[in-house]
């Protein structure tokens, strides 16, 4: 592109449209790469956590592997920085920033609630006050985390103007949260003859299956679509 000061109004308009469209594509691609890597890391973690839980099951610490979720934000940031270290930086855009902030907010709320719910459950189990045990209830935090994750997927869909992503976020998280409340997964495990030891510790495996599904359709696939967008 050279310096040309004798442009028609149509030519000016064409330049503006073309550059904005180019910028939109570059931002979509960059956002897609980050979503894709985040999805892959989350899915990998959803596979590692139940394996760890099953390995430590004989020692009586069946859900201890869930603490690995705390390392996920660091793994995602590290992976993205390592892979795209030598590539040109995509522009900082409002769209990319909004998507990033949405998932950062989800991370803060999700992990924060995870900690608070576990502290609450710990206090409840170790309380000697009988009244408290009658009135108070154990905090079942996984449905809340699914709903938060679904909300993040839906907001990402709104920002990226992807209607199917919005509906997927809403429907999938609601279905998974309700199934979790109703213990559908445990019932299915029982129905298909899973060993009793697995059924008893289903809460160390089933949340990971739900997170895997949400990460596959909510992060990895939209990321892949944006990444490969022409």
């Amino acid at each position: 592109m050279e310096e040309n000061n004798n442009m028609t109004a149509e030519r000016s308009l064409a330049i503006i449209t073309e550059q904005i469209e180019r910028s939109r594509r570059a931002v979509s691609k960059s956002t897609g790469q980050s979503l894709y890597i985040s999805g892959l890391c989350t899915m990998a973690m959803a596979v590692i956590v139940p394996i760890v839980n099953l390995l430590i099951l004989p020692d009586g610490y069946a859900t201890l592997g869930h603490l690995l979720w705390f390392t996920l934000p660091f793994i995602i940031v590290f992976t993205i920085r390592t892979i795209y270290k030598n590539r040109e930086h995509a522009p900082v855009s409002l769209v990319g920033t909004l998507v990033g902030k949405t998932w950062q907010t989800f991370g803060v709320f999700g992990l924060g609630f995870f900690v608070l719910a576990n502290v609450w459950n710990y206090i409840l189990y170790h309380s000697t006050d009988n009244t408290m045990a009658i009135i108070a209830h154990q905090a079942n935090f996984t449905p809340i985390i699914y709903l938060l994750m679904g909300m993040a997927v839906a907001i990402t869909g709104h920002i990226l103007n992807s209607r199917w992503l919005v509906w997927f976020g809403i429907v999938a998280s609601l279905v998974i949260a309700v199934c979790d409340f109703a213990c559908v997964g445990t019932m299915l495990l029982s129905r298909f003859g899973a060993p009793l030891s697995i059924i008893a510790h289903s809460n160390s495996i089933l949340p990971c299956v739900s997170v895997f599904v949400l990460a596959l359709f909510g992060l990895m696939l939209p990321g892949l679509m944006l990444k490969n967008q022409k």
Binding site: M1, E3, M7, I16, S23, E88, V92
Partner: protein, 97 residues
Amino acid sequence: MFKPLDPLLHSELRLAIMSLLISDLEAEFPYIKEQTGATAGNLSVQVDKLAAAEYIEVVKTFKGKRPCTICRITLKGQQAFEAYIEALKSYLQVSKP
């Protein structure tokens, strides 16, 4: 009645730079070069002209050990771009059949 077009923006390359920066909050020099297809020398001259008019601000920093030039549109630049679009509309309305 035609509104006057800002001569600083009524240039292919400078308009392309401003159009890129209006949709992105900030962009690195190599990214602008790639998107506009301009040569580094020409782009540098036009960026300096826009920076001198305070339409954009240029921040020279380092990315690791490599120097990195970041261009960012200013409020004055946004207002100038909006005024240019408004002026452009008057020309486009006349040229419509």
